[in-house]
């Protein structure tokens, strides 16, 4: 904030304080949502990666289009799930950021 735009003391202190508070609240909300999204997606990532490897011998009995399922998951499936996770994250974060901007632009 530059000195010119600083409000004169007294008259506009109240709205300025409110604005500050709202900024912090909105940021906290945004961060909570981001953190939850990150946790869910990382959980999904861990689940695909770990299960593919840990249960590979059991999954190998299932065959899809010629591939044993464990081979398919390790060679393509897990990587494609990752790509989907990253894509979804980018899309969803764009939404969250837009929601934050909208909330900040609304008059108090």
């Amino acid at each position: 904030m530059t000195p010119e735009s600083a409000p004169p003391p007294g008259a506009t202190l109240e709205p300025e304080l409110r604005r500050q508070r709202r900024l912090l609240a909105e940021r906290a909300l945004h961060w909570r949502r981001t953190r939850r999204l990150t946790a869910i997606l990382l959980g999904l990532w861990l689940l695909t990666g770990f299960c593919t490897v840990y249960f590979a011998r059991e999954l190998a009995r299932i065959t899809i289009f010629g591939w044993p399922l464990s081979f398919y998951m390790a060679a393509q499936g897990a990587s494609l799930v990752c790509l989907a996770i990253i894509g979804f994250y980018a899309w969803r974060m764009r939404q969250l950021d837009a929601a934050y901007t909208r909330a900040m632009e609304e008059p108090a």
Binding site: P68, S70, F71, I86, D97
Partner: protein
């Protein structure tokens, strides 16, 4: 917004032109080959044309502006940044060795595919967007600002440690790349290995020396296109040949059952069994000699001496005397030498005496415990490669170059997308090439071997890339009689599939592009760490921008020459060195990077402890278990291979950051404010 769009359109136009010219170049060469142009010329022309191309892009994007030099002006659109990062990422190891690894080891080698792609989830979700929001130049920049401390609170010690880690990790990695450049150049143009290295070095330097990040970004986009075309053409050809479908990623599912059938057939074939029995007998012979040490060593030496003497006494032919002399000279000099050599020989023979393992079967093993050990090693390797990916400075550095945080998230998506275009077809290539070899080469007549075998067998006479000897003397090729080095697979694929030599040249150019693009990024990461973090931030904070860029260029030159020198010494076992780089990066840098964003309580002392403990515990495990570094696998914990030392290093690093941070006083308000700023949306 419209300016961005116009810029994007202009760039797309340039690269569309480039693709058209490249296609024209390929067509022209195909025609020339039909007209009878010799093979060597085609190889030369490919090397020359691509290097001139990279040099041209490098010269056109030359710059001495700091932001342009370090982070390409922060205006690389997400799509192009993704392409450049993909080229940065696809190293000689993934282009040349990975398909060969899959061919040789089947399911086990899929750990590389999973690890090297899964790591991008961590990059995208935990690190890249926050680094972009921070918006400086290097990884040590971020760590120093976040953790502060040191004299004047500017984070000197943290920065120094981060710089050290960056340099060690990137240097190990860049030596491997330059080594690959030398190998490809010498194989395809017939020049000496060291000349090949310095040729490659010259082309690396023209890109990164003049243009910094800006130069290498635009070169890497071009290199990615070459890598993609070079990898996909032969793979699609094989796929169309064996599965009647030119999309290898989709089609090889139908080849897998046929391959499994053929493997079972070969495993039960009595002629194969005869060859394997021969190998077992030879291995037993070595075992007997090992058991009788040191007497057997003495006896063997006397025997070799006696052969030479009798050959001389009875005036045998000159070649016979020569052979006897050579056998004596090659005989192990000491008992210890003999033990290591014979042990290695025995292991090699025993490996060749094994029947083929089913390609798609996960973790085959004689016992449950053996199978579990393989599974655990697979998991550990995937873990290290993933966390290593998320901590490699030359990849993370890329998140600074996009125009916004949104673009960074998009850029990681595009990176993985472009990597997957190639990575999804690598297992396909391995399966298709294996099926081709097992059906058309195995069982064929020795007098009618295809020409590519003799060509590749003679490229490196000391360690033949492929050798086929008629061991049981029946005149037919048995699978057990083929010894193949994984590295030859991709380079020979066009010839295996019967494509014209132009495609072989293209594949070599692709391999060269993969090695060069990665080397570019790594060298830049090293020289930026030295010039920006050491020189500008620690030695001379008052340096002018002009001086900083000049220093950076000089350091780049010096580092490149040291790396080329190290590569020309042909260090042993390049691949395990690269694996070590991933484990070290993960153990040292991952914890401070991620906790820096997600845990406000992390402080200066914690970060220092985390980096030191992570690095040392990783190093300790490697020294303890890696035979090359003087360790023994008997000392391994849970049978984990030394390459996956990061599985112990990463948790140790995280624990150290947490414990030491909690024991010392919380970080100051500046660090709190920085974290809030990084977390907040734009």
């Amino acid at each position: 917004m419209t300016a961005d769009k116009r810029y994007f359109r202009r760039l797309s136009g340039y690269y569309a032109w480039f693709c058209a010219c490249f296609a024209g170049f390929l067509l022209a060469l195909t025609v020339l080959e039909k007209e009878g142009m010799p093979r060597l010329w085609i190889g030369h022309l490919f090397m020359f044309a691509t290097i001139v191309l990279y040099a041209t892009i490098g010269v056109v994007s030359r710059t001495s502006n700091v932001t342009e030099y370090y982070v390409a002006g922060r205006r690389v659109p997400a799509l192009f940044n993704g392409m450049a990062t993909a080229a940065d990422w696809i190293s000689a190891a993934s282009f040349i060795s990975l398909a060969g690894g899959l061919y040789l080891h089947g399911f086990d080698a899929l750990a590389y595919i999973m690890g090297w792609t899964g790591g991008y989830c961590l990059v995208a979700l935990l690190i890249a967007p926050y680094l972009r929001k921070f918006g400086q130049y290097t990884i040590p920049d971020y760590l120093a600002a976040r953790y502060g401390g040191g004299a004047g609170g500017r984070g000197g010690p943290v920065r120094a440690l981060a710089v050290g880690a960056t340099i060690i990790v990137s240097f190990i990695y860049v030596v491997a790349q330059i080594y690959a450049v030398g190998l490809i150049a010498s194989r395809f143009t017939g020049v000496d290995f060291s000349v090949g290295i310095f040729l490659g070095l010259a082309s690396i330097l023209v890109c990164s020396f003049l243009g910094g990040m800006r130069g290498i970004t635009w070169t890497q986009v071009a290199q990615y296109i070459i890598i993609l075309v070079a990898f996909l053409i032969p793979t699609m050809w094989l796929s169309a040949k064996h599965a009647d479908n030119p999309l290898p990623q989709v089609a090889y599912g139908s080849v897998l059952p046929k391959l499994a059938q053929r493997e079972a057939q070969l495993a039960a074939d009595p002629r194969e069994e005869a060859v394997r029995a021969q190998f077992r007998r030879q291995a037993d012979d070595y075992a007997a000699r090992l058991a009788a040490l040191p007497a057997s060593w003495e006896g063997g030496r006397l025997e070799a001496q006696r052969r030479l003497d009798t050959a001389r006494l009875r005036n045998a032919s000159l070649t016979e005397v020569r052979n006897a002399e050579r056998a004596l000279a090659a005989y192990p000099k000491t008992v210890d030498d003999a033990e290591t050599l014979w042990r290695a020989q025995r292991a090699r023979l025993l490996a060749r005496a094994q029947p083929p393992q089913p390609h798609a079967a996960p973790f085959p093993g004689a016992t449950e415990a053996e199978s579990n050990a393989r599974r655990n090693n697979f998991l550990a390797l995937v873990f290290c490669l993933m966390f290593g990916t998320a901590a490699l400075p030359h990849i993370l550095m890329r998140s600074y170059t996009t125009p916004s945080v949104h673009a960074t998230r998009g850029s990681v998506f595009w990176t993985l997308f472009f990597i997957l275009l190639i990575y999804l077809s690598i297992p396909a290539l391995a399966v298709l090439a294996k099926y081709d070899m097992y059906t058309s080469l195995v069982g064929s007549d020795f007098r009618a071997l295809p020409t590519w075998i003799s060509y590749w067998a003679n490229v490196d006479k000391v360690h033949p890339l492929i050798s086929i000897t008629d061991i049981n003397g029946d005149g037919l090729v048995q699978l057990a009689e083929i010894a193949i080095d994984g590295d030859v697979l991709v380079l020979a694929t066009p010839e295996i599939g019967g494509l014209p030599y132009v495609i072989s040249g293209l594949v070599a150019a692709g391999g060269l592009a993969a090695a060069l693009s990665t080397a570019d990024g790594l060298l830049l990461a090293i020289s930026n760490a030295l010039s920006h973090d050491v020189y500008y931030k620690i030695v001379d904070p008052g340096a002018s921008t002009q001086k900083r860029v000049t220093i950076s260029k000089l350091l780049l030159l010096a580092v490149a020459f040291i790396a080329a020198y190290a590569a020309s010494q042909k260090p042993a076992d390049i691949l395990s060195l690269v694996g070590a780089a991933f484990s070290l990066a993960a153990s040292t840098l991952f914890a401070p990077l991620v906790l820096g964003v997600f845990w406000k309580r992390g402080n200066h002392a914690g970060a220092i402890a985390g980096m030191i403990v992570g690095f040392l515990s990783c190093l300790y495990y490697m020294l303890r278990t890696n035979p090359i570094l003087g360790g023994r696998m008997d000392a391994a914990w849970f049978d984990i291979a030394p390459m996956s030392a990061g599985i112990f290093g990463v948790p140790a690093g995280i624990a150290a950051v947490v414990l030491v941070s909690l024991l010392t006083k919380p970080p100051g308000r500046a660090s709190d404010g920085l974290v809030d700023y990084i977390r907040a949306p734009e």
